[in-house]
């Protein structure tokens, strides 16, 4: 059973009632009408609530503990995943993983932030906060993808790059910067999808896509709402106002010309149905790969340059 947020209380109550009625009368006919009626009301209520989520509510969804993570997507929609390890320099970052994978019939190089599903996993993965060796492994895999003529698919879901001494020491700044520069001229297609949190530079370090997708309730921001609140409002409790001001939701990113397409989530959020969420991602990613793999490398790089050149709004 998924967790409910406060604003989902009406739905929680209805769903509990439906469950209760179903369990009292296992033969469908007994409370058939009442159950059907409640289910109809529940869906209408859900549609209303989920179509009007505030940015702060979306933040909660994007960080939901039961929201699917990379390993879920690998199990659900990728086959023959051959994980590759190491940056050939320092070590292997479990917070950012990658390898050969097949999506439908399309072979790809899959790269992504690796959040865990429990505290032990998250400790070894730094909660999906990548270190320099993670970004350098990603770069190694991207160059390998170039050699093997495989498109790159990046799953973004991180609160940010790991903020530790070791990460500074080994140059998280340089690692991210290097990736931004190299991805700009990668000769194979790159599809990036933000499935949960797009945490600033930590996200962008594997995010320079020919196409940028976002799951419906995902967020992507230059700074966390909490960070913005503590700097601008001098009070982290203003995070909900900051979330609104920063325009970090998928629809906002579409409007700002940054996201190219929003991938729909099941009603109530990805955490309610991993399978459907994953299938939607597969459908949309494959549709973009089908187009991108027909473009020549030189045209691809030109298009990518034009895409990023056009980002930003200013006056003259």
């Amino acid at each position: 059973m998924s967790d409910y947020f406060d604003f989902e209380k009406p739905i929680a109550e209805m769903e509990k009632m439906i469950e209760k009625l179903k369990s009292i009368a296992p033969e469908k006919n007994h409370f058939g009408d009442e159950i059907a009626d409640l289910e109809k009301k529940c869906i209408a209520q859900k549609k209303e609530i989920y179509a009007n989520l505030t940015p702060w509510q979306k933040v909660q969804f994007a960080r939901h503990p039961k929201r699917p993570v990379l390993r879920d997507y690998i199990n659900l929609i990728f086959t023959n995943f051959v994980e590759l390890h190491g940056d050939r320099c320092f070590g292997d970052d479990q917070g950012l993983i990658g390898g050969f994978a097949t999506l439908g019939k399309q072979k790809v190089m899959l790269i992504g932030h690796n959040k865990g599903k429990n505290i032990d996993e998250n400790i070894t993965r730094n909660f999906g906060q990548a270190k320099p060796e993670g970004y350098r492994k990603a770069l190694r895999l991207m160059h390998l993808a170039e050699k093997y003529n495989l498109p790159v698919v990046c799953f973004i879901d991180t609160q940010g790059a790991y903020p530790g001494i070791d990460a500074e020491e080994r140059g998280n700044a340089e690692a991210i910067a290097r990736n931004l520069t190299e991805m700009a001229s990668l000769t194979v297609p790159i599809v990036a999808i933000v499935t949960g949190e797009g945490g600033s530079g930590g996200a962008l370090g594997i995010g320079v896509g020919d196409v940028i997708l976002m799951l419906e309730h995902a967020i992507y921001s230059v700074i966390s709402p909490e960070g913005c609140a503590s700097i601008l409002y001098r009070d982290a409790s203003f995070s909900n106002k900051a979330a609104e001001a920063l325009k970090i939701t998928a629809p906002s990113l579409l409007e700002l010309g940054i996201a190219d397409e929003i991938v729909p989530e099941p009603l109530g959020g990805a955490h309610r149905n991993h399978e459907i969420t994953a299938q939607e991602i597969k459908r949309v990613v494959l549709s973009h790969l089908a187009k991108l793999t027909t473009v020549s490398s030189s045209r691809l790089i030109k298009n990518r340059f034009e895409k990023y050149s056009a980002m930003g709004k200013f006056a003259k």
Binding site: A161, Y162, P163, G164, I165, A167, E168, E169, R170, G171, N172, A173, E174, I176, A177, R178, L180, T181, E182, M183, A184, S185, S200, G201, L204, G205, G207, V208, Y220, S221, V222, I223, C228, I231, L232, Y233, F238, K241, A242, A245, L246, K247, I248, S252, L253, L256, I258, R304, F305, Y308, S309, M311, G312, K313, F314, A315, K316
Partner: protein, 279 residues
């Protein structure tokens, strides 16, 4: 009254100090230095050697040959793409304040000039404008200056001085990291030199983009250089940080900077690197 006018002449930048304010207090050793002495030593503290911040025009005056600077893209300026407002005001108002305070239109001044007669394209950041933060207009100017270098086949030099990406423009600021790096990546096609000069401070989204990917990375002594904020790191690891953490010297030790050069030797150092461009 603005300290420096937008005059193009390099010597005009270093004229007499205003009468009201004859002292400069060093940010590092807190010594009081006569303004004239401060500026004569290129805004480097004569007592402790601390390299103080320069305005963009001061830097241009020190680096480029006299009367060679041609400013470009100067009308590009922030709009307010997010209609950003918070409890203390609006981004729109802050932009107006920043323009009035500095006489600049953005946190970077771009153009072309010569260094010992070598033609170069340059972008010089100015910390006074919104903490040198990277916004849409900043990114656009930096890209255009890179494109100028590409079109004219001349070296590109960026002088960074920044607190990072400008949060008032949200995701658009973040994407400037990718946009500017795309411009730099393209220089490789024509083997155009790109030199990054890191000055105090070079942090956040700027250190994690163009500042760190120079063919040669040159830093000024004692500059604050880093990615994650010090406080965030301390809160994460709950340990004391090394003495010279997040300084030019630290990054030289750890392999991310090619050289640390004192300000008075910087122009010469740039020439020495550029002369090795054997094309």
């Amino acid at each position: 009254m603005p300290w420096f006018s937008k005059s193009k002449s390099a010597e005009a930048q270093l004229k007499k100090p205003a009468k009201e304010d004859i002292w400069v207090k060093c940010d590092s050793c807190k010594a009081h230095v006569f303004k004239e002495d401060w500026y004569n030593s290129m805004s480097v503290c004569p007592k402790c050697g601390y390299h103080g911040k320069l305005t963009a025009y001061e830097r241009i005056g020190q680096i480029l040959d006299v009367d060679t600077f041609k400013e470009m893209f100067e009308t590009i300026t922030p709009s307010d793409p997010l209609s950003f407002s918070y409890n203390k005001g609006t981004y729109k108002d802050r932009i107006v304040e920043a323009r009035q305070k500095t006489g600049l239109n953005e946190s970077v001044v771009c153009g072309a000039g010569e260094i010992y007669e070598i033609p170069v394209s340059i972008a010089v950041m100015d910390f006074r404008f919104f903490g040198g933060s990277l916004g849409s207009a900043t990114g656009e100017k930096i890209l255009l200056a890179a494109n100028y270098a590409y079109d004219h086949k001349i070296p590109y030099i960026i002088f960074s001085s920044s607190g990072g990406a400008r949060m008032h423009e949200g995701i658009l600021s973040l994407m400037q990291m990718a946009k500017t790096c795309a411009g730099i990546a393209r220089l490789r096609e024509k083997k155009i030199p790109y030199i990054s000069v890191l000055t105090d401070p070079t942090t956040g989204g700027v250190s994690a983009s163009y500042a760190m990917v120079g063919d040669v990375n040159i830093a000024e002594p004692g500059a604050l250089i880093g990615f994650a904020g010090r406080r965030v790191i301390e809160q994460t690891i709950k340990q004391k940080l090394p003495e010279n953490f997040q300084t030019s010297e630290y990054y030289l030790e750890h392999g991310f900077i090619d050289m640390i050069v004192e300000r008075k030797l910087l122009k010469e150092a740039l020439k020495n690197v550029l002369l090795y461009n054997n094309q």
